[in-house]
Amino acid sequence: MLGAFFQSMGEIVVLTSQATRELFRPPWEIKLWIAQLDQGGVQSWSITFLTAIFTGMVMASQFAIGLEPFGASLYTGKLVALGIVRELGPVLTALLVGGRVGAGFTAELGSMAVTEQIDAIRALGANPIRKLVLPRLLAMVLALPLLTVMADLVGCAGGIFITMAEVGITFRFGVEQMVETIGVADLLHGIGKSAFFGYFIAIIACWVGMNTRGGTEGVGRATTRTVVWTSITILVSDFFLTPPLPGHLRLSPRFASHLRFAPHLPRAPCPTPPQSSPKPSRKTRPPAQMPGACPAK
């Protein structure tokens, strides 16, 4: 069991190195790269959009309710923005796209393997890693960060809409609050992680697909295996990828103030409440004052 695991890891590392070598060996198969970008990236926008907007809305709804007893409902937007940009945007996008695209890659390559099409590519003097693996790997490493950016935007927008309805803020206030909260480092953290997730999805899907045996039944098993392995890898690697990425780097206060993004500065100024005051609380008791929270104006 453990031996098989390490053998798989070794083969995946070898496959990665072979694909990387092909990346620097012209002439490049640009048409194949674009086709995979379209299939894996462009065609995944709708699933990403739906996942992100509903995640943002649900988060906002839950935080608005949960923060209300502490009088901190105004901070709903901040929490939603940080949660989506740093974690849920990249992770949920990767899980969804991994399920959709990863399963597709494995099913396609697995079918080719069991019908000897991959052997035929080799027998005809071509390199299956160059033809099949590299385009998929590039597509996912490029497409997933872009999809994550879209998920961040859409998720935050969904969060703002629900915060507007639940807490009573204006759209402008919601946007300003999120822009103030999210730092460049937070964005880079999420996007950087998603590039790794893209790599994991593509390399696992391709490796499982190319090693498929056992006819159509084998293709089914391989596809399931890819979905399970990519999901677990994304969730586990998310934990390990979190500390070293730029999200934990501190921007210099001067640089951060210059950018007007100051996520890690000593306490940003309290958000200015909107012109129209927030909806009155559904509960009659006055909100408790949180330690360190902004004084009520």
């Binding site: 052997d119 035929a120 027998a123 005809l124 003097g125 071509a126």
Partner: protein, 254 residues
């Protein structure tokens, strides 16, 4: 008449895990001949072909093609061998996402065979050679089993190989189509002068196209000779094998 030895297996061993397929395979392929390899299912006949062009690596022994040792070659080094030794896969292995013309052009493009116009001409030429003119724009899914085999054969001969390996070219086809494929193998032999290695279970194919017969039995080549020699061989398994469907059904025949 068959000429010099161009491919040779010497004491080749191959196993998949604990399943030993070959434990000392010795076989020679001579220029211009049609060698047919027969044997029971799962005995490793296709493995033999795949080892010759490096699709599978032998565990031990020596395999040479045109004087070059194949067993230690890298994928890049194998490209030259694979351009001289082409293989027709059992199911055709046509690329589903491509048209017939794109399938046939695939090796031509890979080897920068000529201009696009020359490649188009070559596609038309090889399709006519396999009696399949006018199907250039069709997808493999629109073709019958026999048509797929013929298109795959057209792709195999597009690069003008010196040796063609046929992996069960007639399996799953009706008797008329089997005869047509057998005729094609003979015609290519005559017109192109290629060396053919045919793996098959079909005794019609054996007696139609074969110059020399090899039997894979108990992890090695147990017999080589002409079909007539096979009929009169004192090895009972081989005699029953070459009788095809007319043989006896003995449980102790293994």
């Amino acid at each position: 008449m068959p000429g010099e030895v161009i491919c040779r297996f010497t004491d080749v061993q191959k196993a998949f895990g604990s399943n030993v397929v070959y434990d000392g395979l010795n076989l020679e392929i001579r220029r211009g001949e049609t060698l047919t390899i027969i044997g029971g299912s799962g005995q490793g006949k296709s493995v033999c072909l795949k080892m010759l062009i490096g699709l599978l690596k032998a565990d031990g022994g020596s395999i040479t093609a045109f004087g070059q040792e194949v067993t230690g070659m890298t994928e890049t080094q194998l490209i030259d061998v694979r351009s001289r030794v082409a293989m027709l896969f059992q199911g055709g292995a046509l690329f589903d996402s491509m048209t017939v013309a794109e399938n046939i052009k695939y090796p031509l493009v890979e080897h920068a065979w000529g201009t696009p116009a020359e490649m188009d001409d070559r596609v038309t030429e090889v399709l006519e050679l396999v009696d399949m003119p006018g199907v250039e724009q069709r997808k493999p899914s629109e073709l019958s089993g026999g048509m797929k085999k013929r298109v795959a054969l057209a792709r195999t001969i597009a690069m003008q190989p010196e040796v063609i390996l046929y992996d069960e070219p007639t399996t799953g086809l009706d008797p008329i189509t089997i005869r047509r494929i057998n005729g094609l193998i003979l015609r290519l032999q005559e017109r192109l002068g290629v060396t053919s290695v045919v793996v098959t279970h079909d005794m019609d194919t054996v007696f139609t196209v074969t110059d020399r017969l090899a039997l894979v039995y108990k992890k090695h080549i147990a017999f080589t000779g002409t079909p007539d020699e096979a009929k009169n061989c004192d090895m009972r398994y081989l005699r029953e094998f070459v009788k095809g469907g007319m043989g006896t059904l003995d449980e102790d025949l293994d």
